[in-house]
Amino acid sequence: MAGEILIEVGIALTALAIGGALAVRVNQSVIPMYIVAGILVGPNVPTALGPIPLTLVENHEFIDVLAELGVVFLLFFLGLEFNIERLVEGWNKLVGIGTVDFVLNFGVGIAIGFAFGFTLIETLFVAGIVYISSSAVITKSLIDRGWIANPESEAILGTLVFEDILIAVYLAVLSAVALGGGGLDEAAISVGIAFAFLGGLTLLAWYGTEYVERAFTVDSDELFLLRVLGVTTLVAGGALALGVSEAVAAFFVGTAFSTTGHTHRIETVVAPARDLFAAVFFFSIGLTTDVTVIAGVAALLAVAVVATTLTKLASGTAGGFLYGLNRRRSLRVGVGLVPRGEFSLVIAALATSVGTGALGTTIPAFAVGYVLLMSILGTTLMGYADSLTAYSGEVSLSGSS
């Protein structure tokens, strides 16, 4: 028995390794390829490739646990990298670009949700999935394309910071409402509990800097890693037991670390663990995805992809102008924010865990199809934008090479 499980884990990790290698080769984000790897070797269609059986990995509990840790540490790092000073400093510029981004993209999500006959809660899920851009895909593309050296990267990264704080609040409210279930009173109570718990964590993050600094000072990298993993997972688990989003709890644990001197060490020591958990999370999304269900939401997908690509282009470009960039750079801000990825899937995973009505099947399947298309479309668009908006003036240095 143990042998079989070990083989399945081996197949899962090997599939991820191959998927990742392919993604890097074609200059794409690894996220869609991890999902595809999960779909291919998972229990759903395709089940066989000619004579070769393709139902190699069942959706075991250990995959679920690792995937859950993936969500926790994706949000933990989001919190860690969340820079409150940057938000406050750039507030005047960020509030404009962030508001336009939210109103247009969340708004179009709401419109799509109602147009396709979803309930209010389901619509809020759809809106969240199409609103949030992917920090992972976008940051990688910014570096690959060299945009990171240009002023448009400031506007793009600023928008992502704004989205981060909104998504934390959104997840806290939505999970309290969705997991609390029932009537308005119960929803109000669970939102209350959520904010009390998160308020406590925020106070700890704000005033406990010195304590956190001392508690995590240890020479050995190994012990440091275990402490961070242990405390973060424990707080996230405690939150979930109280009906509070574990992801948001992890986000606040991350912010508690962000003002300490441990940030750099976490980036080097804990990031590999995050990468492993997150890869398994994307893989498990693939495992539970039934491609035939995605085909069933083709109309919704088509409308969402077209509409939300356009709204992101519009909001990003408008944001670029608000940021004081010229036309060429503003357009790039719009294109740069098109990719969606990990956080849309985190929202989808929350929908799956609620599991009632469309939240159990349609919305997760929609999210997977949507992220697959948008992450690839977004990265590709950035390649085109590069040539469309290329600087046509005198270029020194690069001209000779």
């Binding site: 920090s135 570096i143 990171i148 050296a149 400031e154 005198e394 240095l397």
Partner: protein, 159 residues
């Protein structure tokens, strides 16, 4: 000189260093120590990636830029084949008493203890010059000798 510093979430820190006018060097330092260096010729132009270095390379290269580069040597294993002697390069000034003398007549070894192993004249280096070799003002004598002997040579040439 102005340096702009910003956080790049999940990646590291970015520094923009102002050169002349609008020209800027942009250095991206990744959390894993990798440095990527871009150059943006003007506010409107796109950054062009110049090169990237790993952490160790960047530190070594940095000391070269700083003008402080040196190769640390393990003193225990240093081998000094010359014993107490060192090699010095000494100018023969115009008006020196040795100007116009052949090496034989100059009797440098007898008078100072140093041996002339080469003479640099303009762009040319005459290695192991013969006893007939005639010294001229502006020559650079390459000599082997102890510090005291080299000092004696300095004094002789200046005389």
């Amino acid at each position: 000189m102005t340096v702009y510093e910003t956080d790049v979430p999940g990646v590291g820190r970015k520094f923009e260093y102002e050169l002349d006018g609008e020209d800027r060097l942009v250095v991206l330092i990744h959390h894993d120590g990798k440095r990527e260096v871009f150059r943006r010729p003007s506010e409107d132009a796109d950054g062009t990636k110049l090169f990237e270095l790993n952490d160790k390379q960047a530190r070594e290269f940095g000391t070269i830029l700083e003008g402080a580069y040196f190769q640390p040597v393990d003193l225990d294993s240093v081998d000094v084949p010359l014993g107490e002697s060192i090699i010095e390069w000494t100018d023969l000034p115009a008006g020196s008493s040795l100007e116009g003398e052949s090496l034989r007549d100059a009797e440098i070894r007898q008078r100072t203890g140093t041996s002339v192993i080469a003479v640099q004249r303009d762009d040319e280096t005459v290695a192991n010059p013969g006893s007939e070799f005639e010294l001229r003002a502006g020559d650079i004598l390459v000599t082997l000798g102890t510090r005291d002997e080299q000092q004696a040579l300095d004094d002789l040439l200046a005389a």
